[in-house]
Symmetry: C2
Subunit: 681 residues, 2 copies
């Protein structure tokens, strides 16, 4: 681990040619008149939103290179000017505290609303992170706008599906769109850079010599974490953003069944699933609060109170589930529909964001309008925690919920205390996570009640106990299908999100793109090797295959839940590890094999803990699969028992039901793992 000494003595060093900041061989900052490190300027943003899909354009009026630097060695401060005799437009102070090196902008010229920082890069450098990235794990060679939003449907401008979504509502998305961006990356040079800001940012890793980080407000600080190896670095990152609570024990007992058709349906599905040998931990009923019928179909009724029509005798029912050791989970989001009583209550108390010109700001969600609870107002946040999450949900027996949305905050509303929506937009998922976490904490249920979110931003780690990968399309597509979930787990995992999972079988079915049994089975196979297995009926349950509708899929799913339960002791050990060190459960191969450069860009395989390598089949019609086994260990194929030396690509049989998984030979869990194949029969 990088000694605090080397950080403590870190300093800008001026030579003839440039001014540098070098720590343990890593050039973190380099400035010269010819190649300035900082550019500042003014821009005018042009932003529009359609249901969480943003169109963002910037008109950069000025971009000045701060070529002229004057170093105050004693103050560890650089004063930066655009021209020799001009005013200082920005200073940069070097500060070290708690193993974090900070470059802190000061004396910032008032006219500046754009800043570009160039961080020295090596030609062969890899970078990862930037939140939960769904398309590319290794970020080098591309730029990543960082603005929480809908990730898009299709997310690939070359596909007809994406084009149709774009034409309908600018909803197609692109490779960088994500519910959870974060201005933080990890470099293969073994440092992490985090920008302390919630402003719109764009991290550009396309240049050979430098990374150029763009911000639409001057960040409070640029923070650098350093370590000698990736395991230590990731652990430090987790500590920096806040350790997550433990995954509840009850979750590990089986799959969470996602259902949304009332109590009778839920009970029938549960009974049947148990009969079929499915291990079940909970029922997750999105429609616990009731439905709204629109011309688009069934939607949920966004007023967060138990609906006794759809779920009668709730207390008795929840008790009967508990007697079967089955938990009950619900759904909530930060909006309140304006035809529900909670909206009235919030409006009367002044808890809803308003329009600039006055009056409650209403968001159109398609034939219904919603108010936005203003979480910048402590009383409003507290009301949501106590009145809704506590009284209507936890106290009514809910053991958790999907805490949906968080990434839609419009930028044209008025918040309490005149908080700037352009700065609050990215902060919103964290505020939303905090509201949920606090409600659970105040009920004394941290580590027991479980909520899961798709939206995120810097700091969501400390509040949100479980990410879910959002709304994949029900397919194997490159940018919106099964494989994107792996990329999302790996990138978010490096930044301190230890727990990740996804909707088994995907969610979004549009334009006749429907879920197949094979897709569901491949997804379930992968999910068995993640912290949480949870199904979802999808956005169009009636047009898409449900696991109980097809005997093969049902049996396969049951086997995979048994396999998941069989992994429970190992999963518990990973939870211990996450608690102790902040390491994610799903890990990129290079985390433990950093001497093997082949591993650095792999994004469709992962280590599950240190001892299992998982290479999910993410293409249709494949019955064998090729995986890379990292150098330095021997690997035993879970199903055949065959052993392979690391440092090679191997092809194994991969029929449905036998996901390509390899045991690290020498693992202390080898015996446990070897029982798995039988459990899955």
């Amino acid at each position: 681990m990088t000694s605090s000494t080397s950080l403590a003595t870190a300093a800008f060093v001026q030579t003839e040619g440039d001014i540098r900041l070098v720590v343990d061989g890593r050039v973190l900052f380099c400035h010269s008149e010819r190649n300035p490190a900082i550019f500042v300027g003014q821009g005018e943003a042009d932003i529009s939103m359609q249901r969480g899909n943003f169109s963002i354009r910037d008109y950069v009026q000025e971009r000045l290179a701060l070529r002229h630097a004057w170093l105050d060695q004693a103050a560890a401060r650089l004063d930066l000017r655009a021209w020799v005799d001009g005013p200082v437009l920005l200073s940069l102070s070097l500060q070290v505290q708690d193993n974090v090196l900070r470059l802190v902008p000061q004396n910032v010229d008032a006219g500046i609303n754009r800043l570009w920082l160039r961080v020295p890069a090596a030609a062969d450098e890899h970078v990862w992170g930037c939140g939960e990235q769904m398309s590319y794990f290794d970020l080098r060679g591309r730029n990543f706008p960082l603005w929480t939003s809908e990730p898009g449907v299709g997310r690939d401008k070359s596909t007809w599906l994406t084009l149709q979504a774009d034409n309908e509502a600018n909803a197609g998305g692109d490779y960088y769109h994500t519910n959870y961006p974060q201005p933080t990356y990890i470099s293969s040079q073994r440092y992490c850079l985090h920008a302390v800001t919630t402003a719109y940012a764009d991290f550009d890793f396309r240049h050979q010599q430098f990374h150029e980080l763009q911000f639409w407000a001057v960040p409070k600080a640029f923070e650098f974490l350093l370590a000698d190896d990736f395991v230590q670095l990731v652990s430090q990152v987790s500590s920096h953003f806040g350790r997550q609570p433990r995954l509840p024990e009850w979750v590990m007992k089986g799959a969470i069944l996602g259902l949304k058709n009332g109590r009778e349906h839920a009970q029938a599905r549960l009974d049947d699933a148990l009969d079929q040998g499915v291990a079940v931990s909970a029922l997750w009923c999105e429609d616990w609060e009731g439905l709204r019928i629109t011309s688009f179909g069934k939607r949920l009724f966004w007023d967060w109170q138990w609906n006794s029509t759809r779920y009668p005798d709730h207390a008795a029912w929840v008790a009967s589930l508990e007697a079967q050791d089955i938990r009950f989970m619900g759904y909530v989001n930060p909006y309140l529909c304006n035809d529900g009583p909670l909206f009235q209550e919030a409006q009367e108390a002044g808890y809803l964001a308003t329009r600039v010109e006055g009056g409650t700001y209403l968001v159109d969600f398609g034939e219904f309008l919603c108010g936005v609870v203003d979480f910048t107002l402590p009383a409003a946040a507290q009301w949501f925690e106590e009145r809704i999450l506590r009284r209507e949900m936890l106290d009514k027996g809910l053991s958790g919920w999907m805490a949906d949305f968080g990434e839609y905050l419009p930028i044209d509303l008025k918040l309490a205390g005149d908080a700037d929506p352009m700065l609050e937009h990215n902060a919103w998922p964290v505020r939303w996570a905090e509201v949920n976490a606090r409600a659970i904490a105040n009920a004394g249920k941290t580590g027991d009640a479980l909520f899961f979110m798709r939206a995120g931003y810097s700091g969501v780690q400390r509040h949100c106990p479980l990410l879910w990968a959002g709304d994949q399309s029900v397919d194997f597509s490159r940018h919106d299908g099964l494989q994107t979930v792996i990329c999302g787990a790996l990138s978010s995992g490096l930044l301190g999100n230890a727990y990740h999972h996804s909707d088994i079988g995907g969610y979004t079915s549009l334009y006749d793109n429907c879920r197949t049994g094979e897709l569901f089975q491949r997804w379930a196979e992968m999910a068995a090797f993640t912290p949480v297995m949870r199904t979802h009926e999808g956005n169009r349950p009636d047009q898409n295959l449900q696991f109980w509708q097809d005997a093969d899929t049902y049996a396969h799913f049951a086997r995979m839940t048994r396999l998941y339960v069989g992994l429970r002791p190992y999963l518990q050990s990973l939870v211990d590890e996450a608690e102790a060190s902040g390491l994610p459960l799903q890990r990129p191969l290079f985390l433990h094999y950093e001497q093997d450069p082949e591993t650095y860009s792999i994004q469709d395989q992962y280590l599950y803990g240190k001892d299992l390598l998982v290479a999910p089949v993410h293409a249709e019609g494949q019955r064998e699969w090729t995986a890379y086994l990292p150098r330095g260990d021997q690997w035993q194929h879970l199903w055949s028992g065959e052993r392979y030396a690391g440092g090679q690509r191997v092809t194994v049989a991969a029929p449905l039901g036998q996901p390509p998984v390899f045991i690290r030979v020498g693992s202390r869990w080898q015996a446990t793992f070897e029982t798995l194949a039988d459990l899955a029969l």
Copy 2:
């Protein structure tokens, strides 16, 4: 007309707040520290090309506002600095000569390779021009990159056709892609601004207060032409860029039949067409030089010599056509295929552009490779003129040709004298036009031999006698179909291109998009009211309807050629007018009705001369059509004889064969026009 006096006394005027240049009430330049007129900087372009389809990205490293201006009143020069005590980064001198006001950049800092000029704009201002624009006539509200290229297939990112073309070869295009861009616009404030440069440019008309013109090299000058009305302004513009030669008389005798299947096919089609009552002026046989069979189908053999296999006994045949008063036309482009003898000849003489690392630069056109004749080398241009255009074409009896391409010049080749391909790219169409014009002039055939081009740039006017609208898709689509041809004629016409025409029935048939009889008929109806009627078999003749394959279409086409011939006296008068005043034959309505603001943005109707208003039916399945009739005149419907007051939208019957055309009541051609309806029976 703006008196030369007011131009002669034009001067920068400094007030407390700003420095202005105002001529006859038009604010042509306005600068203040707060709102600077000029920004300069450095950018790094990233450009790639696939067969004329460019992908262009710019990384702007610096953009400095030149806030600090010092006016040397005596020298009529502004010195501009980025900061008060900094160096002069650019001066701007005001010069007036020959009725042109010029702002001439001088003392330009060597580091500058980007310049942005802000021209004051009025909120309700309209702008037109920028070359031959196919999607938008009124340019306000959009930006227009100006770089000659393929216009794209579909040109509409919301269509499946465009996406397929994009996926295949980045060939889908967008609204601003054009074979003929030009950094020149006409403002509704009755001035024309022309930037003297061939650098990549982007004219941005999206701002309320100013137009922002971007250049990737500092222009030699910004030229302003002013006039009191649009007719005078357009006439001045034509004089400025060079008047075109007269349209040859022989063209007006009927349609030019586009054929490409050898002599027998050509003769048979001609005989039959004449039998069917089609008025024919010429045969245009693209395949006069022979074919090449590739896996994509039949391509032309790009070695520009008469092919006696496909067209035997050429002298006798051309003579026999001449006896029938039918001309023969061919095809040529600026490339030479490397398996033809002319390539060898050019290569040996050193007339071909080379690779930077040496050796002939070869362009891949799909299973064949071509050399690029280096027109920056006077000897090479002369060789092309004399050896090919004169000896192989004019001397062999060709009366004209399509001078194809001109917009593909790669930017990574080496030209003679180290000419910069980034600056030569936009210049290339004009060099190509000049080679063609000079060959014809040296043969004493100017005004008799006729070539037509799709590519263009500033100055093409003085060389190219006829534009053709390029390769529309064979459909009615908004951005690549029939109606785009009108937009192309109007925008290019305002900039001094008096003659415009298009492939009747369109050209590009891809992805099962095929020509219908209705499309051909609607296109022919329009073409009858343009200077030249010419058919094209299209890129896939066998899969697309040819006029002789359908009796209705054949008869309709014959009628339209008779109507065209019936218009001959009027057309001759328009040719006289073009020669005298430079007015285009197809004119936007506002050119003669500038007091009627309704006319300013109309782009799917035109005045044909002053006395006919043409509103082509450009949608499928329509049998009536609504047109706007400009205020101030009465209009008589060509077919019904019904008269309408101007200043209103009227709906008329528009069956196939009766294109919506209106006669200006009081026209001296009224009697001629009134015979047209009979001719078209």
